[in-house]
């Protein structure tokens, strides 16, 4: 080889790869523009080809020079408008640039490459017989492009990471030309052969891992500055220590604190890469693939600038490619089919990245045929992955998500595009590894939205810190479902034994329990709050009470309890069953399909921690995912939740994990189909139980009776540097008076933008109810209805009504609720709601304010009513979950009819999930309101009515 100067060669390679990365996107843009040439763009590509040619000539890389020269010629002709770029020409150019890239990556053997198959079409185009040259081309020309596509490897030599991995060009010659074979024989191959070829090429050129990283100089500069600062501060610190100057030490400490956090941030930034690096290759993938499949697809990319950690960027490439290919292959229909369905012939795929709630969301949305949940379920049943019974109780969403089950390949026929035996489960596994979540929302006929949620970085993760046996452990927040504390007096009731396993009842489900101390084989301990110390736990089962001074156990424990005697004496409480220390602290964790409770001694804060690997001597300890250094310099181990479950030999209670999960989800769903209402349960007197809608509660305060002041005939207390008016249920409703306790609770509400406190006593609890509320039997002023909860009749308090009765002046300026009667028209509102209670409640709000109300017990009835009373009805207020036709469907039906598409639609929900809100907005719901939040609802209703009249 005549290449002598390594550095210059290296420079040439880097520069050329960078040019080529851009060429691809630019060529695609040129193709799109067609005759309407963007000169700047063509110029750019032209210059890129030109400089590669120049460099190659200088290095003596004749073959590269020749090829780039031929490309440059054509580009020159396009630039001078002698040639109109069409897909065929661009194809040839794209293949040329692929070949160039291959040769540059393999520079030592580039001069031995045979490029005639590229030169012939290139020259043919250049010589002006473009038509002939292009005409025979398209078919064979397409196949080679297929070769290119499967290389998820060539990450469109990502602009900022183009620095080649090996700085010194080692003689690569022994491997003759790994890239050449797929390209050269391809045109001769028959289609099926080409397909098989594809599989092999996909595996051959394996990832050239990027070991170096391009960082902006300004970022490096700031790192340097910070490092300098750090050194200065260190010197100061040493000096301060030397001079024993405490006051200065504080200042220096602060300074170091600032610098380190800034330094950390800056270093993290160096790892952040724009996701555009990955996205940039997809236009080509979609283009080539859609051509091959004879589909027309437009890919829109949004959010190229969103930045993610380098490791995530690298690993997201394959799953994304798979998903995009799936969309192109299975999602978007053939143009003819689309036309039949009344869609545009051109399919649309939108690839979008954006930030949401501290995470990055990547969304792939297509307007294709969508996923047919029924078909998926049928397929899963036939493959034995789920049973027919399970399928029956699955929601559509569940069915769609079946696609992620291992062993589930949904392609009816294996195409060479996406059905390569790599199922979606691999995609999911890969994303799981990154701490990402994937979710599919699909509607048959209308398309699919796949959302991937990714953490910004893998290096720092939020964790829950817990203590067991005196050591701290961290549980990644990703695995954390909830924290559960079972008070001592409920342990016996809620913890049960099933065989040898202990389980806890959690909202109607059985949750298996694992004692962390048992799994990792340390001594069982518990945390004694009164003595603020760790104690050895000797109970056999959790439900046993703690402490053994009860006479029954005293005798038979004495023999082995000798050495603990002194400890026993120290304990003052006679029966610990109800001592606070007997409470169970449970961390509910989930891993894949498994969910269980981990019993720990103490729950501590949640912290952002940096994961560090454990040494190889500890690799055999499967229970840990790593370690981290806590604020005090000590180490805490990070628990691996799924391995802990395995170590505890935890299996789900019935059958496969998945079946269990499905059953749970189904049960959940059954409940969801009724209206869920979250209630806060409390008491006023010892014997009567009350509830208020939880979403109305602002906060709950514990107070002493002595804090209540009687002023001007009203009860108030000082609260956040103001006075908080206090009310009780018995002020208005004829119920038993407030119990004479010293410790009271104040449930704070916000009514008429003023805080108001409802006095109550415990025990309080937050629960979700689904049963029908009885709005008749116990209704009275201040009480809107009743419901049975755990065999207790519970009265639902109408706080609004109580306040209105006690403080009518608060509502003086709220006359907006009254209908403006001057216009002479009384607006009519259509209410669609299946629950009698809620319907009556909302109706009473409306009639109170002077509106006329027409009510329908479900969406279908409401729709009929709307058509019947089309002229009167000026607004629709609808529930979401209803039989026959739900709120979404009702809205859609209304919006489809041009007669009604202007009518305001307000949806009422009990639990407004963001996803539902988004869905609601998409179908045309104007506003979302929480049921029973009278004030907000009415303000909103009035606003809309005002606009109409």
């Amino acid at each position: 080889m005549q290449i002598e100067d390594d550095e210059i060669l290296q420079g040439f390679i880097e520069e050329s790869l960078e040019h080529l990365a851009d060429i691809e996107t630019d060529l695609l843009a040129i193709e799109k523009a067609g005759a309407d040439i963007d000169e700047n763009l063509v110029n750019k590509v032209f210059r890129a080809a030109h400089s590669i040619k120049g460099g190659a000539g200088f290095m003596g890389l004749t073959v590269i020079q020749e090829l780039s020269h031929a490309m440059e010629n054509i580009l020159g002709m396009i630039r001078s408008r002698k040639l109109v770029p069409n897909p065929e020409i661009v194809n040839v150019l794209l293949q040329g640039s692929d070949k160039l890239e291959a040769m540059i990556n393999n520079i030592q053997s580039s001069n031995d490459e045979d490029i005639t198959e590229h030169l012939i079409p290139l020259n043919a185009i250049a010589e002006g017989n473009a038509v002939q040259a292009a005409a025979p081309k398209p078919k064979p020309a397409l196949k080679p492009t297929v070769e290119v596509v499967p290389e998820p490897v060539v990450p469109a030599p990502v602009v900022s990471e183009a620095v080649a991995p090996e700085p010194v060009p080692e003689p690569v010659t022994p491997v003759p030309e790994p890239i050449a074979p797929p390209v050269s024989p391809a045109p001769k191959l028959t289609p099926p052969a080409a397909a098989s070829q594809l599989t092999s090429t996909a595996t051959t050129p394996k990832v050239k891992a990027d070991t170096s990283l391009r960082v902006h100089v300004s970022l490096l500069d700031s790192l340097m500055t910070l490092a300098g600062e750090l050194v200065l501060s260190r010197n100061q610190l040493l000096q301060t220590i030397g001079s024993n100057d405490l006051r200065n030490a504080e200042a220096v400490g602060q300074r170091i604190d600032l610098i380190t956090s800034e330094l950390q941030e800056a270093i993290m930034l160096t790892r952040m890469q724009p996701i555009g690096n990955v996205f940039s290759k997809f236009p080509r993938v979609v283009r080539d693939l859609s051509k091959q499949l004879n589909k027309t697809i437009e890919l829109t990319i949004v959010g190229n600038d969103v930045e993610l950690d380098k490791t995530i960027i690298e690993s997201i490439n394959d799953p994304l490619t798979h998903l995009i290919r799936n969309s192109v292959d299975h999602g978007i229909e053939m143009p003819a089919d689309r036309k039949l369905m009344g869609k545009t012939e051109k399919g649309i795929i939108i690839l979008k990245a954006y930030h949401e709630a501290g995470q990055v969301v990547i969304q792939i949305r297509d307007d294709g045929k969508g996923l047919d949940g029924e078909a998926l379920a049928a397929s899963a049943i036939s493959k034995g992955l789920i049973t027919a019974e399970q399928a029956l109780i699955m929601s559509d969403k569940e069915k769609v998500n079946l696609i992620f089950l291992p062993g589930f390949s949904m392609a009816k026929k294996v195409t060479d595009v996406s059905g390569r035996g790599v199922g979606m489960d691999v995609v999911k596994t890969n994303l799981d590894k990154l701490g990402g979540q994937v979710e599919i929302v699909s509607e048959v006929g209308n398309g699919t939205i796949i959302s991937i949620k990714l953490p910004l970085t893998l290096a720092i993760i939020p964790c829950q810190i817990i203590t067991t046996s005196g050591e701290r452990y961290a549980i990644p927040q990703v695995n954390l479902e909830e924290l559960l504390r079972i008070p001592a007096n409920q342990v016996k009731k809620r913890v049960e034994r099933v065989g040898t396993a202990e389980v806890v009842r959690l909202r109607g489900n059985l949750l298996p329990l694992i004692r962390l101390a048992d799994v990792i084989e340390t001594e069982r301990t518990y945390w004694d709050q009164e003595e603020a110390g760790r104690k050895e736990d000797r109970r056999g089962s959790i439900a046993d009470r703690r402490g053994k001074t009860s006479p029954v156990f005293h005798t038979n424990r004495d023999d082995k309890g000798e050495k603990n005697k002194s400890a026993t004496d120290e304990r003052s409480v006679t029966d610990r069953r109800f001592a606070a220390s007997s409470a169970l602290n449970i961390v509910v964790v989930s891993t894949g399909s498994m969910k269980y409770g981990l019993i720990v001694d103490r729950l501590q804060d949640s912290e952002e921690i940096v994961i560090k690997p454990l040494g190889r001597h500890l690799q055999q300890c499967k229970g840990y995912a790593g370690a981290t250094i806590m604020g005090d310099g000590r180490i805490a181990l990070i628990l691996d939740v799924s391995n802990l479950a395995r170590m505890a030999r935890l299996t789900s209670i019935d059958g496969t994990d998945r079946a269990n999960e499905v059953a749970l989800a189904a049960a959940e769903l059954m409940r969801a189909q009724k209206d869920k209402q979250a209630l806060l349960i409390f008491r006023n007197s010892e014997h009567e139980q009350f509830g208020v809608p939880l979403n109305q509660v602002e906060r709950i305060e514990k107070i002493k009776r002595s804090e209540i002041e009687d002023m001007g005939g009203r009860r108030v207390m000082q609260y956040r540097s103001g006075s908080l008016a206090l009310i009780t249920v018995n002020d208005i409703a004829s119920v038993h008076p407030l119990a004479d306790h010293d410790d009271l609770l104040v449930i704070v509400f916000n009514i008429c933008s003023k805080p108001i406190g409802l006095l109550a006593i415990g025990p309080i609890d937050a629960i979700e109810i689904t049963s029908e509320i009885d709005g008749v039997t116990l209704k009275q002023p201040g009480i809107m209805g009743s419901i049975i909860i755990d065999a207790h009749t519970t009265m639902l308090v109408d706080v609004f009504e109580i306040v209105q009765a006690l403080y009518p002046e608060w509502f003086a300026d709220k006359l907006v609720f009254e209908v403006d009667k001057t216009s002479g028209v009384i607006p009519t509102i259509l209410i669609a709601e299946d629950s009698n209670f809620f319907r009556n409640q909302v109706k009473s709000y409306m009639t109170e304010s002077g509106y006329k109300v027409i009510e329908g017990a479900d969406g279908a009835i409401a729709w009929d009513l709307l058509q019947k009373h089309a002229d009167e009805i000026s607004m629709v207020v609808t529930d979401i979950e209803m039989p026959n036709m739900n709120g979404f469907e009702l809205t859609e039906t209304i919006r489809k009819d041009s007669k009604y598409n202007k009518i305001p639609i307000i949806a009422l929900t009990t639990l407004a999930a963001d996803e539902d809100i988004a869905k609601g907005r998409a179908v045309g719901i104007d506003e979302y309101h929480i049921k029973l939040d009278k004030e907000k609802l009415m303000t909103c209703v009035h606003d809309y009515i005002k606009r109409l009249f």
């Binding site: 990792i520 560090k612 454990l614 040494g615 190889r616 690799q619 229970g623 250094i629 180490i635």
Partner: protein
């Protein structure tokens, strides 16, 4: 360096010597990263019995191996005189907990003899040789053997 032919130019090796229980051991000082007395370790439940715990060494997690246990001499108590000898192992640092640190001596490589099959109750496999001074016998540890992970676990 251990292949010295015992010619006129003696090749010397600096041996760091320390006590594991009552046994005097030594190792090439160049293999030692540092010696510290940080004893605030975090126990790792279910770790091999010879692992005392893990230690935060300026942001690095270091596994501490109880050399006494590893060599079959019983566990090493952490006292005021106990020390961690930090050595580097592929990809990480590992600490060896020893009872007490002794001197650094210069040893003539030519005089290092082959280790006997058993020495002071320690399996000979952990030694690469023995060195005799006027009054002492120093077993020279084969650090790689000590750090090797047994297939059978603990």
């Amino acid at each position: 360096m251990n292949e010295s032919k015992g010619t006129t130019n003696k090749s010397l090796v600096e041996l760091a010597t320390f006590f594991v229980g009552d046994a005097l051991c030594g190792m090439d000082i160049l293999k030692i990263q540092e010696i510290n007395k940080l004893m605030d370790m975090t126990k790792v439940p279910q770790a091999p019995s010879y692992v005392t715990g893990i230690l935060n060494l300026r942001g690095q997690i270091v596994t501490i191996i109880d050399l006494g246990k590893k060599l079959g001499l019983g566990s090493t108590d952490t006292t005021l005189s106990s020390r961690n000898i930090i050595v580097s192992s592929p990809g990480e640092h590992v600490g060896l907990l020893v009872t007490r640190f002794s001197d650094v001596i210069s040893a003539d490589t030519a005089k290092i003899e082959r280790a006997p099959a058993n020495m002071g109750g320690i399996q000979g496999e952990f030694f690469s040789g023995v060195y005799k001074t006027d009054d002492k016998l120093i077993g020279i540890l084969d650090v790689n053997k000590v750090l090797r992970i047994e297939e059978q676990g603990h």
